[in-house]
Amino acid sequence: MKKIVLALAATLAAATATSAVAQEKYKACFIYVGSKTDGGWTQAHEVGREYAQEKLGDKVETVALENVPEGPDAERAIERFARSGCGIIFTTSFGFMDPTIAVAEKFPDVKFEHATGYKTAPNVTTYNSRFYEGRYIIGQIAGKMSKTGVAGYIASFPIPEVVMGINGFLTGARSVNPDFKLKVVWVNSWFDAGKEADAAKALIDQGVDIITQHTDSTGPMQVAEERGIKAFGQAFDQIQAGPTAQLTAIEDTWGPYYEKQIKAAMDGTWKGGQSSWDGLKDGILSMAPYTNMPDDVKAMAEETQAKIESGELHPFTGPINKQDGTVWLKEGETADDGTLLGMNFYVEGVDDKLPQ
């Protein structure tokens, strides 16, 4: 309900803002699933918005609406934005996919950008980041650093993006330790610090000595710090929550993309129906400093990162088996983007049954 109030407030603010600045300012709007200050996913988008605003200066007005739940509320919030004069609307969570498409149909003149989805339309473009490249690197680090050979993965919802992350991590870990195992716990939430922390504790109690997460709070990092094990930051550098626990973090850098797309929307070169999927080499994804690890592990991580950036290494290169032991990728074969974006199976070594 807070969201509704926020939505109302933002609409009011948006409405008054439009009338005040007349027509010369181009309006770019952002919808967030979490709070701007979550220290993870949403904060990374907020930093990106601030970056674009600063770069584009007075010509653009950016507006953001936070804490919009995935579901019917999202459609209302996006539609309000579309009505209030937004030229381009960025919807920044997987669950906003269908609402974005629905609103885009009603407002053909407004441009839409949806993060991490797979549905496009004449006025909807999707953008994503090759998170699995970072996951592969942290997997390798985990493979080297773990003494028990088992890592714990705190996952949100069983969507392809999350499954891809799990597989990327394990593939990386297995590249240095072929017997590496992975335990997965689904918390069915993007953001619940307490629950994420509980999941971390459960995993640690069951013998994992490294945890990583695909949820948005710093709860698990704090538990890792307290229990004296290692962990990886998610979406944002979480070193503050785990000064001795964080090995590195996968950082999302959306700013340059936002700047580019808003600019394109303003000068008419923006195209709908596109799917942008950049990775480490484009800078949309970066790794936080490698800390709390021996020099040789750090050197290995840096080398892998360089190889991925240069295109020499594709994280999903065969031989890789599926969880049931059947062959997914033959020796030397690499995964195509379509399979990755629709990933609905685990690779070998995941100690979990994929929720369907």
Partner: protein, 306 residues
């Protein structure tokens, strides 16, 4: 052995905020007032506790600040529903909305700051007893407070005259008024007690559970506490049982997932709610007893005639 102890500790940590908030709300509802603002008061407690801890450097001061903030915030509800006889359901819901928004504002500059944990009790010899040492002698102070609160409230409600008076007001405020009892005064005190408890439960989240401040960090725990009170048919020890059952199943399902049993995680995630409701409904199946324990004038405004 260590694992069993760790699991039990995790369960207790998960159950404690629910228990404290629910015990507070139980007293409020026993006095005939329905305050749906638990979530809001809790989140206010969490942010004020965290802020006061950082500003003063002492989590104890933070805890007291959270209690005070919760009580003060509930006073707003009290003035509207008791003195002005506003609708309790609507006011309670608004209190939650206000609490969530206000806490975000208060906490803005504290996001990302490293918290200070309210230290666990550390008794040298007793804490080292195998199996139970840490469970009994090595927990955080708020855990002990939660047990004292439960026992205290049970004793107060059913063994003291003041408790009888409070329950009488909850059952029939008109009769209580006719007997010369100051209905509004006692309801004010009950509402503030509920607010203080919710504030303390919030402090547990931001000072013990996950010592940090993030927006919406209560994540619906206030609503769970509210439901616990009803399903426990307004009885303190059942609330304790319900909170621990909920905590146990929540943590148990995470362990079941980590063990890789292959049970669908969506089902496991729903399990704590289902299990708690089923068990509490079964133990409350005696209709006569349940009816006796239900505060008959719950949610009805009272305007004393002069």
């Amino acid at each position: 052995m260590d694992i069993a102890q760790n699991i039990l500790l995790t369960i207790m940590t998960a159950a404690t905020p629910l228990l404290i908030a629910a015990i507070g709300e139980l007293v409020v509802e026993r006095s005939g007032v329905l305050n749906l603002g638990v979530e809001g008061m809790m989140v206010i407690g969490a942010v004020c506790g965290f802020a006061a801890t950082l500003l003063s450097g002492s989590p104890w001061i933070g805890m007291l600040a959270a209690i005070a903030a919760g009580a003060f915030f509930s006073l707003l509800f009290g003035v509207l529903t008791l003195s002005l006889a506003a609708n309790q359901v609507a006011t309670g819901l608004s209190l939650t909305l206000l609490g969530l928004g206000l806490s975000g504002m208060i906490g803005e500059s504290f996001v990302g700051s490293a918290g200070i944990k309210l230290a666990n009790l550390d008794i040298p010899v007793l804490g080292d007893i195998p199996l139970v040492g840490r469970l009994i002698f090595g927990q955080d102070p708020i855990f002990y407070i939660s047990l004292i609160l439960t026992g205290g409230v049970a004793w107060f409600l059913f063994r003291t005259r003041a408790g009888l008076t409070l329950r009488a007001i909850g059952d029939n405020h008109a009769s209580a008024h006719a007997l010369g009892i100051n209905v509004l005064k006692i309801r004010y005190l009950a509402v503030m007690f509920g607010g203080a408890c919710a504030g303390l439960a919030g402090a547990h989240l931001s000072l013990v559970y996950t010592p940090q401040w993030v927006e919406n960090m209560t994540a619906g725990r206030g609503w769970i506490a509210l439901a616990l009170v009803v399903f426990a048919s307004w009885r303190p020890w059942r609330v304790l049982g319900g909170a621990y059952l909920f905590g146990a199943v929540s943590i148990g399902q995470l362990h079941a997932q980590a063990l890789g049993f292959g049970i669908p995680s969506q089902f496991l995630s729903a399990l704590p709610y289902v299990a708690t409701i089923v068990v509490l409904v079964i133990i409350s199946r005696d209709r006569r007893l349940t009816l006796m324990n239900t505060p008959a004038s719950l949610g009805q405004p009272f305007v004393p005639d002069r």
